[in-house]
């Protein structure tokens, strides 16, 4: 029966010890439960456990492996009462675990929390409604000595507690939703995918998210909403307050207060779930929008632009540019994205522009005739002779420099400064800069070398601190070389 029991010895572990091993290596059982949930059954096959244990123990120490093999053997699980029943009538060995064991493992792994579906919520609500009916039809005496009443109350609180823990687990699950969204989108973001795959992947996330939102978040939200009414049942808060009132009326104040506090806790859950729901809702709308946009662009490219482009690849040499037929056809782009473009000056050759211009001219001419004053319409004329004067001055300077003979010196500017001061009437210090440029371009017989030594010249209240320029006659230098 036990395929892997043969290798190990037949020693068995106690309940506490087995549970300890199960929880310590709960990854094995978590995966089994996930598979069980996926198949929508309430048993785990022996083979599934065997395979998981085998995979898990591949890289562990040998004594741990031995311990795991013993703990997870069917005989051990059955003997330690963790498994209720072993059914081998269907051809495979089915292990029916204790619900509490599964619950403990689920508690350790957030992703195993069962989602509260609409049907489950309805069951909870039916139980509460039924309890209220039983209370109000006078079956119980509302006395602590009455065993029926105590049992009923215990059962009621058990149900409320279960509902509470279910909803709390759901909230934890919803709060980890961002992680799930990230996992969903990670694949298509990380890898290089082509457009078709991208669209497909995007559609898949959207479907999954919409399902999550509509099947799990919305029902819980509706269930917790104090204003919700169902067709033949009272809403959660109505039932709770009714039970509270009935208990209060029968002098069970402490029980009534308990119920009241539970009702308040349920009310508290409403807000975090609503926040999550809003976030998911926004995400869905955004995704839908972007898919629509993407489809529009893709459609335009595939069906309009590409067909136009293929026309240019024919043998006809007259047709080498893409026509504008594709651009005129679709009407999608204006609503996609509107952004303001800069408005240019309206200098152009349109009839409207000329009409405007001539109207303005005509109006101004009429103004002249009425006012008899040309000066008010046209600005005053002005002649600026500065530029011409500068040109004359420069010409005079060049003429003078042409007639000056250079000699070898350590400070060319000082020499020029002294000469110009005497010979040039309109001399300014800055003319020295013009001189260097002039000689550099004009006189190849002398070699001008700028040094890093400073000297100073003064003229007309101004000082010029300049670098000395050495002037060497290079005709014999060339001969030397």
């Amino acid at each position: 029966m036990n395929t892997y029991m043969n290798s190990s010895d037949s020693k068995l572990l106690g309940t506490a010890e087995t549970l300890n091993v199960l929880l310590e290596h709960r990854k094995i059982l978590s995966e089994c439960i996930r598979e069980m949930d996926a198949n929508a059954v309430n048993y785990i096959t022996e083979y599934a456990i065997f395979q998981r244990v085998k995979n898990y123990t591949e890289n562990v120490r040998s004594d741990t492996r031995k311990r795991l093999n013993i703990a997870f053997s069917s005989a051990n699980l059955l003997q330690s009462h963790l498994v209720m029943e072993l059914d081998n009538s269907q051809g495979e060995n089915r292990l029916y675990f204790q619900q509490s064991v599964l619950a403990v493992v689920r508690l350790c792994d957030v992703s195993l929390f069962k989602k509260l579906t609409d049907a489950q919520l309805k069951t909870h609500l039916q139980i509460l409604n039924q309890a209220h009916q039983e209370m109000s039809c006078g079956e119980y005496h509302f006395a602590d000595e009455d065993d029926d009443f105590t049992e009923f109350i215990d059962n009621l609180f058990l149900n409320i507690g279960r509902l509470m823990s279910d909803i709390r687990q759901n909230i934890v699950k919803m709060q980890s939703i961002s992680k799930e969204l990230e996992a969903l989108t990670a694949h298509s973001v990380n890898s290089q995918v082509d457009t078709a795959d991208y669209i497909k992947a995007k559609q898949t996330w959207l479907n999954e998210i919409v399902k999550l939102y509509e099947r799990h978040i919305l029902p819980v939200l509706l269930f917790l909403n104090p204003d919700t009414c169902y067709q033949d049942l009272d809403g959660l808060h109505t039932v709770m307050s009714n039970i509270h009132k009935t208990l209060d009326a029968h002098n069970q104040a402490s029980l009534a207060n308990h119920i009241q506090s539970y009702a308040l806790s349920f009310l508290n859950f409403y807000q975090p779930i609503e926040a999550t729901a809003n976030a998911v809702n926004r995400f869905i709308h955004k995704e839908r929008d972007s898919i629509k946009r993407f489809n529009a662009i893709e459609h335009f490219y595939q069906h309009k632009l590409l067909t136009e482009f293929k026309l240019t690849q024919s043998d006809n040499l007259n047709k080498k540019l893409i026509g504008n037929a594709a651009i005129l056809l679709p009407n999608f782009s204006p609503s996609i994205k509107a952004f303001t473009r800069p408005i240019g000056y309206s200098f152009n050759d349109s009839p409207a522009y000329y009409k405007n211009l001539f109207n303005e001219l005509e109006a101004r001419t009429l103004d002249i005739f009425e006012l008899h004053d040309l000066a008010s319409v046209f600005a005053k004329a002005n002649i600026n002779r500065d530029a011409k004067n500068r040109m004359r001055r420069h010409d005079a300077l060049v003429k003078l420099l042409d007639s000056i003979h250079l000699r070898e010196t350590n400070d060319l500017l000082n020499m020029l400064h002294l000469r110009l001061e005497d010979q040039f009437d309109a001399y300014q210090l800055y003319d020295l800069i013009s001189c260097i440029g002039f000689y550099r371009a004009r006189d190849p017989a002398f070699k001008l070398t700028t040094t890093n030594l400073f000297a100073q010249a003064e003229h007309g209240g101004q000082q010029f601190r300049y670098r000395k320029i050495r002037c060497v006659n290079n005709t014999h230098d060339v001969n030397k070389i």
Partner: protein
């Protein structure tokens, strides 16, 4: 501050006051091995004569 070519008017250079030459070469000989750009810090300056020596020193420091 202004940047100009060699055709920038000397009058304007005098108005600005400080003149740095950025494109000087270490030798005038073309294709010479040592031909490379050189820039000397410290501007050639135009200034008013009545400026005190302290001011000149300050501008030197700048």
């Amino acid at each position: 501050m202004a940047a100009g070519t060699h055709s920038t008017s000397p009058e304007l250079q005098a108005k600005i006051g400080r003149r740095h030459v950025m494109d000087a070469l270490t030798t005038a000989l073309p294709y010479h091995a040592e031909r490379s750009r050189v820039y000397w810090q410290g501007a050639e300056e135009f200034s008013e004569r009545d400026q005190s020596d302290v001011d000149v020193e300050q501008t030197e420091l700048i």
